[in-house]
């Protein structure tokens, strides 16, 4: 799951990026509102973690601008301001959630998961298809109710496919959600991850649509 972190403080940004990466997220970190706004125009993120006191374009300014442009990516605000008025202002400017510094990384991660879940129209915290269950919070995958060890990238890939079940996801879409900008990626990395997943699940669990991309089918009752 790919997140955009906009935080101007070096030490905090570094820590949040490292922490969220441990939780399996792909985190792109920008330090000012202007470049974040530029990034959001050409890339897609599952959620944005936004500090309010940003240089060049303030957090609220950034938020209002992207909402004005019609971007609906869930946004969670990180701020040192804790008054009710500040929270209301943040939420009214288009934020989906609000965390006051200092916060707990586990809580941040859980809130991000919840936001992403809701933005994809689900209420259930876990994802199911056929005999496979994926629990984003526990970072666990069960096949026939048996825990299967799935590495970070493969987990993210499976989660992305399950969240968009019934839709074909292009190679580019999947790559974007798996890797940040600063990561060196082999050209066949995606194929390797798909191959590994198929070995653990079921050969035809993930379907290849030639020339288009990959998909997981939708549950019939949905």
């Amino acid at each position: 799951m790919r997140l955009l972190l906009v935080e101007d403080d070096d030490l905090l940004g570094d820590a949040v990026k490292a922490g969220l990466t441990q939780f399996g997220y792909v985190v792109d970190w920008l330090k000012d509102g202007e470049s974040a706004r530029a990034a959001i125009k050409c890339e897609s993120f599952e959620a944005i973690i936004l500090d309010l006191g940003l240089p060049k374009l303030s957090g609220l300014g950034f938020l209002q601008a992207i909402r004005h442009d019609g971007n609906v990516t869930p946004v969670i605000i990180l701020t040192a301001r804790e008054s009710v008025g500040d929270r209301v202002k943040g939420l009214d400017s288009g934020a989906d959630d609000y965390l006051v510094k200092p916060f707990d990384l586990n809580e941040l991660s859980a809130r991000v998961r919840a936001l992403v879940r809701r933005s994809t129209g689900r209420a259930d915290a876990t994802l199911h298809y056929r005999n496979v269950t994926l629990d984003p919070a526990a970072h666990a995958v069960y096949v026939d109710d048996i825990l299967v060890n799935v590495p970070r990238r493969e987990f993210a890939l499976l989660q992305k496919l399950l969240e968009n079940s019934g839709q074909v996801l292009s190679r580019e879409q999947l790559m974007q959600s798996l890797y940040g900008w600063d990561e060196e990626v082999d050209s066949n990395a995606l194929e390797v991850h798909i191959h590994n997943l198929r070995k653990k699940l079921n050969a035809n669990y993930i379907r290849t649509i030639r020339g288009v991309g990959y998909m997981v089918e939708k549950n019939e009752h949905q």
């Binding site: 070096d10 820590a15 510094k101 200092p102 990384l105």
Partner: protein, 473 residues
Amino acid sequence: MKSSIRKFLLINLLLAITITTTLTAIGNYYLDEQDIKEHLDTLMAVSALSYEALLGDDVHERPLAEIQSSLNRIPQKIKNQYKNSFLNDLPPQNYINKFDFQVWSNNGKLLLHSLDPLEITSPPKIDGFSDLRVGSELWRIFTTYNDKAEIRTILAEHYDTRNELGHSIAQDDMYIMLLTFPLSGLLIWIIIGRGLRSLDRVAKEVANRAPTNLEPVNLEEVPEEIKPVIDELNKLFHRLDEGFEREKRFASDAAHELRTPLAALKAQAQVALNTTDLEEKNLALKKLIASVNRSAHIVQQLLTMSRLVPEASRINDIDKVNLPKVAREVLALLAPSALEKQIELEFTHDANITNFFGNSTAIGILIRNLVDNAIRYCKEHGAVLVRVYQQKDHIVLEVHDNGPGIPSELRSRVFERFFRVLGNKSPGSGLGLAIVRQVTELHGGKIELDSPEKGTGLIVRIFFPIHPKPSKS
């Protein structure tokens, strides 16, 4: 001794009243004496002349023996008169003996006289008023001579009468004064009380305030005399209010500014906890320590800032500042960090820089912040130059660096607390230049930001007046 305006006024007013009334009484006594003398003299003259007229020119043909026996009965008559009147408590006998009446013929014979006449062998030859000593007693005498009847009429009055009258009037004055004295005291007490009531009201208004109410007292309801006091009080209220406001802002700033480093601390700690990879753990812990150092730096700067409020700079902290000496000491401490970045640190100063009044510690903090900033923002292998020189009646501290400088549109804002230039990668507290400004203002100086003629960089000039104006507070 506690001073009570009421007691002071009461005692002093009563004292003043006593002195003035006593003087009045003494004055009255002497003036009365004069009045009494004139009055009684006139009475004597009129009486004597009347007797003479009544006796007539043919006094020798009158029944003198009968008249004399009537005269002898006068004391008894007076006694009877007094018995029937209301004035029976006055002893007329005392006075009767003090008046004397005698009529002498030309050949030295006493024709008529009051009972118990004065024992004189012959009438005084002087007409009109005279004093006469008979035995040990002094008498006032009036004589008149009828040259047709050839008789001399004499009226005499004992001086005691006159003195007693004067004394009794003075005594009465005294009694009245003593009687009115407590009344005056009571009245003064009440009047002062009423006068002080407005003072009481102001005192109550101040006393009944909530501790947080530092609004000024309304001067319109305050008596003219204590306006200066209330005025000063209001000024004190204002200063306190400002102080409290500053404290409040400071606490909130501090809390606010520490949240981000605390968030970083917590996140790094959790990153370290959540990983099993030793290398990643160590990296997170190192960053955690960096976060702690930054928090400590912010706390240190906050403390410095709070100690630099005007109230804290008491007059006994003021000494003669030798700026080159202070600068050299601070630079010696900062030299290692400059060397570490391979920055050339240079200090020059004019000879014979005048010492000026100021706080050496605060100025040391100022220099440390300026030079620390210069070293921090300087490129590696850069140069930091510190100069001290005298310009007219100012001592100038100049710090050059060849870092990125501060864009001119931001120069007015960099002195605000917690303001940080965007994209600034150095971990600062955002308080350094605010501290510099505070110290400069405490010394009545001014700051100038400039850029060098060639290349990038920043020049900071601090102008310290050699003869600072006495500070307001």
